[in-house]
């Protein structure tokens, strides 16, 4: 009796998993919220907005096209525009073009990917402020700039990339503000050489920005968006130095955060990852989650990038095949594991080069909105800590409503935990985490 295998997420990890399983004779169900496969970095524009791959993906064009074609000719039960809103034991609750349905599975690969990680800054709730990833999607998938004069701010390897892509596409990039200083990057440089091509690309983007005369200000200690009803300028400071740059749009991001709600609903064990300051579902060396019929691949269980996602997606498919008694190409698996190990070393250097500036949270003023969905300010959170003795994330949520809104903490839980740990003078790994609740994204009552 064939095992019923489901894969959640059709980014590079999910696609490679589906490909590997299909080639081994299975017909996995591949469930994805988007209209087309590819995930985020290799997102395909919707029909009508297509452009040539090199225009969309630059250096990554060949990889993107390979992913887009990876399932051609294979028999996959592909469910686009479908949301898994709940998961329990061996059942998934789906909603999509086929309406609502329940899908039973024997084995499940979670390849749920990641979203931008946010640090609230003054003005971040103005319409015209987008995430860095969102800014990139506007360009890639819709051929649009998020505004007429854009400032990009935050940190991470995505920052110079998106800025460069905008400049190359003819948008006006007023400045790039990076919270990571040049000195910090220099110190991390030897580690970055573990993947020389990737390192070279990073340098290339920066050089291109400078060539175009776009100010790249590194090591900023903070920034704020000004404007009454829309962004009008960004102000920044670095030591005693300040600056003000006119803009009508801001793309901001501080690295990525994993989407772990379904792993949580399925009862996976979680552990706090010190490097990325996030709670992640645990996995063994072969990609199995703590629940043995579940497998984790890609950014959804720890940020490692698209290349690692491809390797991990294929790798956990081999793990699964071995677990159900099918033959495994151990040479191939060894190659995949070596690739993953190499990328892991590089990722540590990336975190060192673009550290998450968690110290920013200490400077957040009381009036700043932390939970956008519910309009919860830092001051309101502080009240819960000081007057209602909240010392743990779920308590903080229960009292303040942080994380109770439509996005269920995707944009605010990180800041909430950083603030809580700061005010309680407690290690961030000790203040708890918000739990996944069904539906993991909003679904209509009817």
């Amino acid at each position: 009796m064939a095992e019923a295998i489901a894969i959640i997420g059709a980014g590079p990890a999910g696609v490679r998993a589906a490909q590997t399983l299909a080639r081994a004779g299975h017909r996995p169900v591949l469930i994805d919220e988007n209209m087309r496969i590819g995930g985020q970095i290799y997102r395909q524009p919707p029909p009508g907005a297509e452009r040539a791959p090199d225009q969309l993906y630059g250096f990554e064009a060949a990889k993107a096209v390979a992913i887009h074609r990876a399932l051609d000719g294979l028999d996959i039960d592909y469910r686009p525009e479908t949301l898994v809103w709940n998961a329990r034991e061996k059942l998934l609750d789906l909603t999509g073009p086929r309406g609502s349905e329940r899908l039973a599975f024997d084995r499940l690969i979670l390849a749920t990917g990641a979203t931008d990680r946010s640090i609230p800054f003054p003005g971040w709730t103005l319409p015209g402020v987008f995430s860095l990833g969102g800014s990139q999607i506007a360009l890639k998938a819709q051929g649009c700039a998020i505004g007429r004069r854009v400032v990009f701010a935050g940190t991470g390897p995505l920052l110079p990339l998106v800025a460069y892509q905008y400049a190359k596409a003819g948008a006006t990039v007023a400045a790039v503000l990076d919270t990571s200083s040049f000195a910090t990057k220099l110190k991390a440089a030897p580690g970055l050489l573990a993947l020389p091509k990737l390192f070279a690309k990073g340098l290339y983007y920066l050089a291109q920005l400078k060539r175009r005369g776009i100010p790249v200000i590194e090591g900023v200690d903070g920034f704020a968006a000004e404007g009454a009803t829309a962004p009008e300028a960004i102000t920044w400071h670095r030591g005693g130095e300040t600056g003000r740059i006119e803009c009508d749009a801001v793309g901001a991001g501080f690295g990525l955060r994993s989407e772990t709600q379904l792993a949580d609903l399925l009862g996976c064990a979680f552990a706090f990852d010190e490097l990325t300051r996030q709670w992640l579902p645990t996995k063994d060396a072969e990609g199995r989650a703590s629940e043995r019929h579940l497998y984790l691949a890609g950014d959804g269980s720890g940020i490692a990038g698209a290349d690692a996602a491809e390797l991990a997606g294929e790798r956990v498919a081999w793990t699964l095949l071995g677990d159900i008694g099918q033959s495994v190409d151990s040479g191939r698996v060894a190659t995949l594991d070596r690739g993953l190990a190499r990328i892991a070393r590089f990722r540590r250097a990336i975190e060192a080069a673009y550290p998450f500036p968690h110290r920013f949270h200490a400077a957040i003023p009381d009036a700043l909105i932390i939970c956008r969905c519910e309009g919860v300010t830092a001051g309101h959170l502080k009240f819960q800590v000081e007057q209602r003795e909240a010392g743990e994330m779920n308590r903080l949520k229960a009292y303040s409503r942080l994380g109770m809104g439509r996005c269920q903490g995707r944009l605010c839980a990180s800041a909430g935990a950083e603030l809580l740990s700061h005010w309680r003078d407690a290690e961030i790994g000790t203040v708890g985490r918000l739990r996944g609740q069904a539906p993991v994204k909003p679904v209509p009552v009817a």
């Binding site: 985020q40 907005a49 956008r372 309009g375 996005c407 995707r410």
Partner: protein, 98 residues
């Protein structure tokens, strides 16, 4: 009224006529609802609990800040819904009685 978004890449696909709060607007096939609205407007509606209007944020279906409404009161997630000819989109919802 000017839009927040700026179209950079030339789009040769069909023009799409739709309405925002009853006012005619145009976009192109391949535009999402969010893009279509933001090409025409600075925002897509108010927020419940902040002083600012909203315009979406993540464009990838995570932030849930781009929900708009159709004529039947159904929600459409702007970043993951394509705009279609004749679509009547609204920036706020009013419950109908009966």
């Amino acid at each position: 009224m000017s839009g927040q978004f700026v179209r950079l890449a030339e789009r040769t696909s069909a023009e799409i006529r739709f309405t925002i709060d009853g006012t005619p607007a145009t976009a192109r096939a391949g535009d999402t609802v969010l893009t279509a609205m933001l090409l025409n407007r600075p925002s897509i509606g108010a927020t419940e609990f902040t002083p600012h209007d909203r315009a979406g944020f993540c464009l990838m279906g995570a932030c849930q800040a781009c929900w708009v409404y159709d004529a039947d009161g159904a929600r459409r997630r702007g970043c993951s819904t394509l705009v279609e000819p004749g679509m009547a989109l609204f920036t706020k919802w009013v419950p109908s009685h009966g």
